[in-house]
């Protein structure tokens, strides 16, 4: 029983990180109907920024977070203004390949600059510390804190989107970009905002993940696939959906990982396929 509870809790903790990674992807999709293949690469850049802050100026990964967020926002904005804007005119397939090209570009640029080595942040406030929950479940602090930060980030983003003027403008663009533009909302600016939020949140996720994950230029691919599954499971464009779907996927992945480690992500993809075939709009989706 203890092992089961352990797996469930660590699945939830990991799942909250998956949710945070998927948050940006689902917002970008919701606002402008684009699937961003380079999303995992944004994550990778966030991780490298946190790593270099740690190595070069001795900043703890927790205090490096603002830098990771800033890097993610800049990357998102640069991607939008330099590439995605021009992709919007083309058909869906050109958009997919455009962001796929961006993915290759960022990944191999990172390889070019930083080399193929696996890197880890070895010292940090959270590392190697754990706490007991009810004497049964051991909680690893390096995962608990990122999970809590992820929840806070979800609260802030949902608050901004639901309760502020600019958030409502963003929603209006997501619902109908043309109608929104008649109301005086610049779709272009809202798109840029979506990419900034998307980049910022995934940069934050990257900064959090260096606490417990290795860093390489290739790290993005695995997580972008999980993020796709998360977004599709929750429903493209749904923030609530991304949150719950991430947790579900985290739990599935950890539970399977205990019994058959090499199949833990296989199950995630298979579950995604089965769910999406029976419920194409995802669990909480509103966008076809």
């Amino acid at each position: 029983m203890g092992f089961f509870l352990d797996a469930i809790t660590s699945g939830i903790l990991m799942g909250l990180i998956f949710s945070l990674i998927a948050l940006g992807l689902t917002i970008i999709f919701g606002v402008m109907n684009i699937v961003n293949f380079a999303h995992g690469e944004f994550l990778m850049v966030g991780m490298y920024i946190a790593y270099w802050c740690n190595v070069l100026i001795g900043l703890d990964p927790l205090f490096g977070l603002p830098f990771s967020i800033a890097a993610g926002i800049l990357l998102g904005l640069a991607s939008y203004y330099l590439l995605v804007r021009y992709l919007l005119r083309g058909p869906m397939i050109a958009q997919l390949f455009g962001t796929f090209g961006l993915m290759l570009f960022i990944r191999y640029l990172a390889l070019f600059i930083w080399g193929p080595n696996f890197r880890t942040v070895s010292h940090g406030l959270l590392m190697g510390k754990s706490m007991l929950l009810g004497n049964v479940v051991v909680l690893d602090l390096s995962k608990v804190v990122p999970a809590i930060v992820s929840i806070i980030a979800f609260f802030i983003v949902s608050y901004v989107i639901n309760n502020t003027k600019v958030g409502k403008a963003l929603q209006a663009t997501a619902l109908d970009a043309e109608a929104a533009s008649y109301m005086g909302i610049y779709a272009d600016r809202m798109n840029a905002l979506a990419w900034a939020i998307g980049g910022g949140t995934v940069g934050l996720a990257g900064g959090l993940m260096v606490n417990f994950w290795y860093i390489t230029p290739e790290v993005g691919l695995l997580f972008v696939m999980i993020a796709f599954a998360t977004v599709a499971l929750g429903g493209f464009g749904s923030i609530k959906g991304a949150f719950y779907a991430g947790v579900i996927i985290g739990v599935i992945e950890t539970l399977v990982g205990v019994k058959a480690p090499s199949f833990k992500f296989t199950i995630v993809y298979a579950a995604y396929f089965i769910i999406v075939v029976f419920r194409p709009q995802g669990l909480f989706g509103w966008k076809e």
């Binding site: 699937v35 050109a94 090209g101 290759l104 390889l111 070019f112 796709f228 075939v277």
Partner: protein
């Protein structure tokens, strides 16, 4: 009998293309025919074989992705199924290539029907990502399946002497010409396909699914059929890959990047045109290989070849989403 004769006539009939295109393709084809006699570098020949292989993949993808407009990104799984079938049958039962290839293609097509049926309930991005997901599941299964070699992959046994039945030759010239035969047959098939009933149905589906359905086209079934044809094409290529390289593993025949590359080449050249996939492969394959051999191996320049490659992909996607063939047509339209 009449139907078959008509189909063959259609397949060999290129008369609806402008004269410049017909002359262009004849010159290009003569070049392909004499290539091994002109160029003796084994690297250049390997690049050409890879070009023909990817042109075949791209032509197959063009049925569902180009004419049908469905962004299928899991084609590598069918390459893998048939490559693994050929390899396993040769290792276990010593079955010649010409017997195992049709079986491999059959299995790939069978799997494509099983997957295509649920898959085509989905549309747009959902469909695209679901094709990736299925492909990844299959890749994971093969990677962890000890029976088919798992992570180590499969090496095909050497027969010692050059052998037509097992497609083992001393010189790569033979591989080149066999690949050229597959390529030629594929080209004729596609030339028939674009004028066939299914070809027109798919274009109608791509233009507007609801209208197509209201005209009495069974939209889902048309897509499934085209998906199966595409799978058969890449499966032939996969079978050839296995005997040509003599070694396969999941990252060489089932990887996501192969799936995307197949679609990318067709799109870059120009989807939904007969020449598009050929042009795409003719540009991307040599670009990739020569960049890789010039820069990729150099010290301190790790990844630079792929950076250049990705910049080209982004430029084409942003500036001319209809691909290189789109540019040609634009220029032609301007001339009147």
């Amino acid at each position: 009998m009449e139907g078959i004769k008509g189909a063959i006539k259609d397949a060999l009939d290129f008369s609806d293309f402008p004269k410049s295109e017909r002359i262009g393709i004849i010159i290009f084809y003569i070049y392909l025919l004499i290539f091994p006699w002109v160029v003796s570098s084994s690297f250049a020949r390997a690049v050409m074989i890879q070009f023909l292989l990817f042109a075949l993949y791209g032509m197959g993808w063009n049925t569902i992705g180009g004419y049908g407009g469905q962004v299928a990104l899991g084609k590598a799984q069918y390459v893998g199924i048939s490559a693994y079938t050929v390899a396993m049958m040769m290792i276990l039962f010593n079955i010649p290539f010409w017997v195992s290839m049709p079986i491999g293609v059959f299995l790939a097509v069978l799997w494509s029907f099983m997957i295509g049926y649920p898959l085509f309930r989905l549309k747009g991005h959902y469909f695209a990502i679901a094709t990736i997901a299925v492909s990844l599941v299959l890749q994971d299964i093969f990677r962890n399946w000890e029976f088919v070699g798992g992570e180590r992959g499969l090496s095909l046994p050497f027969k010692g002497t050059p052998n037509f039945l097992y497609m083992q030759f001393k010189s790569d010239v033979y591989y080149y010409y066999f690949m050229l035969i597959f390529f030629t047959l594929g080209l004729f098939y596609m030339n028939w396909f674009r004028k066939s009933r299914l070809g027109y149905q798919l274009r109608a589906v791509k233009a507007n699914e609801d209208v197509a359905a209201s005209l009495g086209i069974n939209v889902r079934w048309a897509k499934i059929k085209a998906y199966a044809i595409a799978s058969a094409f890449v499966a032939v290529g996969g079978a050839f890959y296995a005997v040509y390289h003599m070694y396969i593993d999941t990252s060489s025949v089932m990887h996501l990047e192969l799936s995307i590359l197949i679609a990318l080449m067709a799109m870059l050249g120009g989807a939904a045109s007969l020449w598009g996939p050929i042009i795409g492969a003719a540009i991307l394959v040599p670009l990739d290989r020569y960049l890789g051999s010039w820069i990729g191996g150099a010290k301190g320049l790790l990844g630079l070849d792929l950076i250049i490659y990705s910049i080209i992909i982004m430029l084409v996607a942003a500036l001319e989403p209809r691909g290189i063939w789109g540019i040609v047509e634009k220029v032609r339209a301007k001339r009147g």
